[in-house]
Amino acid sequence: MNAARRLRPVSGRAARVRPTWRGALWSPLVLLAVLLLAPIASTAQTRAEVATDESRTGGAITGRVVGEDGQPLANARVSASRMGGAAGAVAAQSDGEGKFTLANLTFGAYLVNAFAPGYMLETDPSEHPSARVYHHVGDSVTLRMIKGGVITGTVTGAGGEPVVGVFIEATRVRYADGRTVREGASGRIWQPRQTDDRGVYRIYGLRPGAYIIRAGGRTSFGTFTPYDLNVPTYYPSTTRDAATEVAVPAGAEMTGIDIRYRGEAGRAVSGVISGALPADYPASGTVVIALKHVSSAAPEQYVSFLPGNSGFAFDGVADGDYDLLARLNSSRADLAAASPPRRVSVRGRDVTGITLALAPLGSVSGQLRFDPPAALDDKLACPPARAPRAAESVISARRVDAGHAADPGSAFFPAASETVPDDKGEFHLRGLKAGHYQLLVRLPAADFYVRAVTLANAPANNAPPAPAAPGKTARPAPAIGDPARLGFTLQTGERLSGLNLHVAAGAAGVRGRIAAANGGAGASAAGVALRVHLVPAEREQADNLLRYAESRVAADGAFAFAHISPGRYWLLARPAPNAPDAPDNSPLPLAWEADARARLRREAEAARAPLALAPCQRIADFVLPHPSR
């Protein structure tokens, strides 16, 4: 990897110029690991240590690990990573009954993951980023693991000879249900394998879905190989556009996926970064440049721009059209920057002299405030078991404007920018491009709901938020969307502050299902994806977007709403606005648009499915008629 490690001891002790643990700790590998994770990690950087004097005991998250058959899975490694906490996770191992205890956890929002070789969690966090589940001290969790699929085959050259030591990568292009993978990096299997001396490769641990397989090209693994200046060859022996997809059913082994390696020379794409870099760069961050084929969801190559480099360069690039984007990842809010995406065409020769100009990114800061206990109704049926802590919440911003999908730069950004408030409830969402955002607040327990959103020192703006025009970011007025609607608009590099989220206890909730369409099975049997809307019945709440909510309808017709303000509502089932294969995480909530909101209320009133929710009330079995009836 580096020269220092190749040095051998000259004699006894003299020249052990070996990296010590300190060296390793800050080795570029680790440094870059941290920096590249910055899209997630840096936004969640806020320190949220519980003060010593009030921390009382934290506690444990317990649970079970089970396999597909529901049988306990022993010896799985389970980890809990605290959002916004110091790096590192608390880990435990499942016992003979699949049980585990993650003990000694401080209060916070945790992501719980399980690892067992060849297995993976059944819920794919990359598939629905907004559906991530956070756990809290005291939770009991069942983690279901499924066996991964396998793709195996042989790579041979033009003369049938084995191609030895070439890296193979699989990229998932379709989910198991046939939908196209569109979200950023979620399709990439970050686990390249190499062929052995017979040219044989074997990739395991694959989620069900369809994959394209590539051999060679500039490895996403930094090791030099004889093949890294070549254009990748895609299965069976072709370019990316013509690649044959390999469908992998759950847990299946797909054999004979043989690749005839073409070994064609690739081109270089190179350039420089402009825009002010901080004086202490790269201590304060790293510029990462990504190259993405226009037709793929995830960048094919990343490089970093660092002092001493004369610029950046990608090798082994096949002819085609690409988007390039540079991003400065930093833990410091004032440094976050990105370049607009730049389209380049590679046609039989190197492309040089590209300049990517960094422009600052925006941020939003504010405070999450729990209503003081005195304000709670003494007779609350569900007094919180313990005082909630702001640091157990997760706040994220999701870009929802119409320009988002058309913006090639979106593929380089995480689906949502996340953060955890500190113990005072203060939060900062960073690294936001210009656009219209939806604010999502994950609260510590089902007992809480967002009662109000206010913007300090800003005049109330009751106009409905106008969606950003596609492709245009410059707009005449600083159009901060009405924060009461859990949305905001940012201009390039804008820093919005003073956004206060008021949280109350006594939240209500409702679960139910859609009655089958023609007496037949569930909602999807009608062939139309449905969505259930919660609409306020009280006239004075008609424009309070905190009283509106949407729920996806599962294949069996189930829907659920939680963290709901007590009050009177109507429930309304409507066809989902999405195209069938679109990921269910981009559309603006219907109620955000004034006309649609008015229409929703009219339809909801006419549908006659009223619902009155008292504080703390949880309705478990609401049956809603199918809209086709």
Binding site: A15, V17, E49, T52
Partner: protein, 584 residues
């Protein structure tokens, strides 16, 4: 502490694909083939029965020598033709490493291989043509088999360890294998590109050094060598020939050691009150040893009741202690509390923690005219380590933690949680930007040669760390002689030159070492000004009779280095002394 690095590296490896790509190469400079550039040519042979067939299609790669933390790019690349010849043209003057990329092959005569073959240092000047940079390769051997656990389930995604039988360091003497050295989802492995030789094929953690890592990672694999041996004496030796294949090398792992849980509380030694939010670590104590060897910690801290907890520990001797891990951690330190796990969980340990000392001060660069130096100051990696002032009681274990100083852009720092004793500072040359050295440590205006004396809970606020910065280059020529006549180093020998400051604060990490090239040239770059000792040393590659290699007594010479510019040095290495086998 190595444990931590293993864990971090292991974590990083999970991210490999994402990560490593980013230190990919920068734009290769376009240089016309003129007198301003150099050319390197050579031939790659081997593989045949007589070992002298030309090898076509072998990749040749030239990378800048010297360790740059960020830039890893090829300066030139070539592929051998049908006749085995290659030519690297347009090479700018400089110091390089020359590699071959020939998966499945191994350098002829090698005892071990990590896939790159052997790297060769080359210092080349403009207008030069360097010929006969030849390599002889042998076909690598193959060892393949399957690893199952004691219950007959495949052992998945675990790394095989190849050891040389009889290697006294067998634990550390991991031969490694080129390319795939991991079991797949069926437990199957296939190690290829191996140098011909006799091997022990093993998997699992070593007893002592591996325990801490295993516990932290929740892994519990008993080191087992083919076929099912937990002791080397029972292991069967696997002999592989050049180009040969040994199949069916199946390993049945020994049952995992039973592991136990350890818990206790951290109490303030003065008040008896529990202390929350303390980071803690633990380490293994080798038998008969007075030191904590491998150590590690995870993200957990003591809770409000001051409780700590470790799981997954196999029987053995360990110690638990406070780790001063973060800038804003509570200002406490502790002694190491030894404990022994026999055959049950251990609860109720009490670690007495004490208020730590705090050091405040500023690091500054002496006389540097280069403005770039000041911009890099905050990136300099400095550490403080406190050596106990008084001799310890016989049963007392030194914790041996050190804390990193986080420098502000103006060079100021503060570090808390220090025990009493002598605070000694070191500059970590590996992680710092190049060109820095630690000259002096002062308190007030007085130099503190042996470190700064700190009392229990003392607050010291006038520490000054004087750094030097420079960009000087030492360019050397080494002449090898025997009995006064020009000579050659022994077959399989490699010549190194190391450079160490003779003044200033001693720190081994500041040492710089480079390999001397085939023409006796060496170049040491990015040196801070000062007096240095140059030391040339021959290290002879391992042979079956000297598995750690051999060395020849070094020669030394002092050299004075300015802030910038070049110094030329000639060193004479007399080989009259005999090589001596390196002992562990």
């Amino acid at each position: 502490m190595r444990t931590l690095s293993h864990i971090i590296l292991a974590a990083a490896i999970l991210l490999d694909a994402f990560v490593i790509a980013s230190f990919a190469q920068a734009a290769p400079k376009e240089t016309k083939e003129t007198k301003e550039t150099a050319t390197i040519t050579g031939r790659v042979t081997g593989g045949g029965n007589d070992g002298d067939q030309p090898l076509p299609g072998v990749g040749i790669i030239l990378t800048p020598a010297g360790f740059n933390r960020y830039v890893r790019r090829a300066a030139a690349r070539a592929t051998t033709g049908a006749d085995g010849f290659y030519r690297l043209a347009n090479v700018p003057a400089g110091s390089y490493q020359l590699y071959i990329l020939a998966p499945g092959y191994t350098p002829a005569g090698a005892l071990s291989s990590r896939g790159r073959g052997d790297a060769r240092t080359i210092n080349i000047e403009a207008g030069e043509t360097l010929e006969h940079q030849d390599f002889t390769l042998a076909r690598g051997g193959v060892i393949t088999g399957r690893v199952m656990d004691a219950d007959g389930k495949p052992v998945i995604a675990e790394t095989l360890k190849l050891l040389h039988p009889g290697d006294p360091r067998s634990g550390a003497g991991n031969v490694g294998a080129a390319y795939r050295d991991e079991t797949d989802d069926r437990g199957v492995y296939r190690l290829y590109g191996l140098p011909a030789g006799r091997y022990l094929v093993c998997l699992g953690e070593e007893k002592e050094s591996g325990a801490v890592r295993a516990a932290l990672m929740g892994k519990n694999l008993t080191r087992t060598c083919y076929p099912n041996a937990t002791e080397e004496a029972q292991a069967r030796i696997v002999e592989v020939s050049a180009g040969g294949e040994v199949t069916g090398v199946n390993i049945t792992l020994a049952p995992p050691a039973k592991t136990y849980e350890v818990s206790g509380r951290m109490l303030d030694a003065e008040t008896g009150q529990p202390v929350a939010n303390l980071s803690y670590g633990f380490g293994a104590i080798s038998p008969g040893d007075k030191h904590i060897g491998n150590r590690g910690w995870n993200a957990t801290k003591t809770n409000a009741a001051g409780e700590f907890r470790f799981g997954n520990l196999p029987p053995g001797r360990y110690a638990v202690f406070v780790v001063p891990r973060e800038q804003d951690a509570p200002n406490y330190y502790s002694e190491a509390l030894p404990f022994e796990i026999d055959d049950e969980n251990l609860n109720g340990l009490v670690v007495k923690v004490r208020r730590g000392a705090i050091l405040r001060g500023i690091a500054s660069i002496e006389g540097a005219t280069d403005r770039a130096a000041h911009a890099k100051l905050a990136q300099v990696s400095l550490h403080v380590h406190v050596v106990a002032a008084e001799p310890r009681a016989a049963d007392e274990l030194p914790v041996g933690n050190s804390s990193r100083l986080v420098l502000q852009p103006d060079g100021s720092f503060h570090v808390a949680g220090l025990p009493p004793g002598k605070a000694q500072f070191t500059l970590d040359g590996f992680s710092s930007p190049r060109g820095f050295a630690l000259l002096r440590v002062e308190r007030g205006a007085a130099e503190q040669r042996d470190g700064i004396e700190i009392g229990v809970g003392e607050q010291v606020s006038d520490v000054r760390l004087r750094l030097a910065y420079g960009t000087a280059v030492v360019r050397g020529q080494l002449e090898v002689r025997r009995d006064g006549q020009p000579s050659q180093i022994p077959e399989g020998g490699q010549l190194y030159v190391t450079m160490r400051r003779v003044e200033g604060v001693r720190a081994s990490w500041e040492n710089v070492a480079v390999e001397v090239d085939g023409r006796g040239r060496f170049v040491l770059e990015a040196l801070a000004p000062g007096e240095y000792e140059l030391k040339a040393n021959v290290w002879v590659r391992p042979t079956p009779t000297a598995p750690l290699g051999a060395s020849i007594p070094p020669v030394r010479q002092n050299v004075s280095v300015p802030e910038k510019g070049e110094v030329n040095v000639t060193l004479v290495y007399d080989l009259s002394a005999k090589p001596q086998a390196v002992t562990p």
